[in-house]
Amino acid sequence: MADHVAAQAGESEHGHPRHELSAYARRVYAIRDILLEKGILTGEEIQAQIEYIEARTPANGARLVARAWVDPEFKKRLLADPKAACSEMGIDATSLNEFVVLENTEKVRHLVVCTLCSCYPRPILGRPPDWYKSFNYRARAVNDPRGVMREFGNDVPDAVEIRVHDSTADMRYLVLPVRPKGTESLSEEELQKLVVRDSLIGVVDPLPAVPEQGV
C-alpha cells in the first residue's frame, strides 16, 4: 500500500482513486495538489510521513513489554524514563512530549482513552485502532471501564481496581501488562507474541501461555 500511495499519492495507476470518494475525501486530494503547487509541501515530505507511520506498529510495544518481563533492571528504567528506555531498544519516542508507562499489577489495571479525540503513542504503536477513536469508547471508558473491558472479553474481578487515564496532546500512555502465569520457560521472543496491541491500551490482558501440544 505504501508504494502505491508513494507513486501516485493516492491514485491508482490510471490516476483514478480506487473507490467512490466522499466530498471530503476529494478535498484532501485537492488540498494536497495545491500545497504541492505552491511549494508548501513536497511529495517526498508526504511520502516520508507515510513511511514513518507505517514503520510504527504494536510490535514495538510488545518488544518493550517482553524485555521488561525478562529484565527487572530494564523494567525499572522503562517506568522511570520511558523515552530513554525506548531509545535503548532502538525506538524513537522523542517526538512525544510526556510519555508515561503504566504498570499493571494483580491489584490494579490501567485503561487508556482519549475522551476528546484520539491521542495515542503513535511514534511507538502507529495509528490507533478504529474502536479507540469511536464515540462510544471515548464516552464510556471513563465511567464504565469495567463494562468496556467486559465487552472486550476481559472480566476484571471487582477486587481489582481500574484506573483510567485520559490522554492529551502532551501526555501519552502505554500499559505494561502483567506477565501471564506459566510463561517462565518462554523466551523473550515468544513472550512478545503474547503482547497483543489491545493489552498495551489496557482493555485486555496479554494472551495466555499456550500449553505445549502433545504429539
Binding site: 500500500m1 466522499s22 476529494r26 484532501v28 495538489d33 510521513q49 485520559d166
Partner: protein, 102 residues
C-alpha cells in the same frame, strides 16, 4: 458553558463497534499531509483540535474520523491564508474532470 460536541467522556453511549477497517488511500493521504505540515511547523495539533471543536456539531457527528481531519485542516490552512476555499473547490472540479466523473 455547554459541553462541547468533542467532550464525550462520561456521556451515555452504546456498545463499542470493534470492527477495524483497512485505511483507504485518501485516509492515508489525509494523515500524511497533516503530519507533514506538523513536521514543518506549519500547523499545530492544538489548532486542528480547535477547528474540530468549533465546527458545526451535526457535521462533527456525521463525518468519519479522517473526514473531520480534512475539514479541520482546510479551516486552518484558510485561516493561515495558505489557500482559499475557492481554490480547493476549483481543484476538486479539475480533479473530477481528470478522473472522468460527473
Amino acid at each position: 458553558m455547554p459541553r462541547g460536541h468533542h467532550d464525550l467522556g462520561g456521556t451515555p453511549a452504546g456498545p463499542i463497534d470493534r470492527t477495524e477497517h483497512q485505511l483507504d488511500d485518501w485516509e492515508i493521504l489525509a494523515d500524511a499531509v497533516n503530519q507533514a505540515l506538523g513536521a514543518k511547523g506549519i500547523r499545530r495539533t492544538d489548532e486542528l483540535r480547535r477547528a474540530r471543536e468549533q465546527m458545526d456539531s451535526d457535521l462533527y457527528r456525521r463525518l468519519s474520523y479522517y473526514e473531520r481531519w480534512i475539514a479541520s485542516l482546510e479551516t486552518i490552512l484558510i485561516e493561515k491564508k495558505l489557500l482559499t476555499k475557492e481554490e480547493v473547490d476549483r481543484k476538486v472540479a479539475e480533479l473530477a474532470a481528470k478522473w472522468g466523473e460527473p
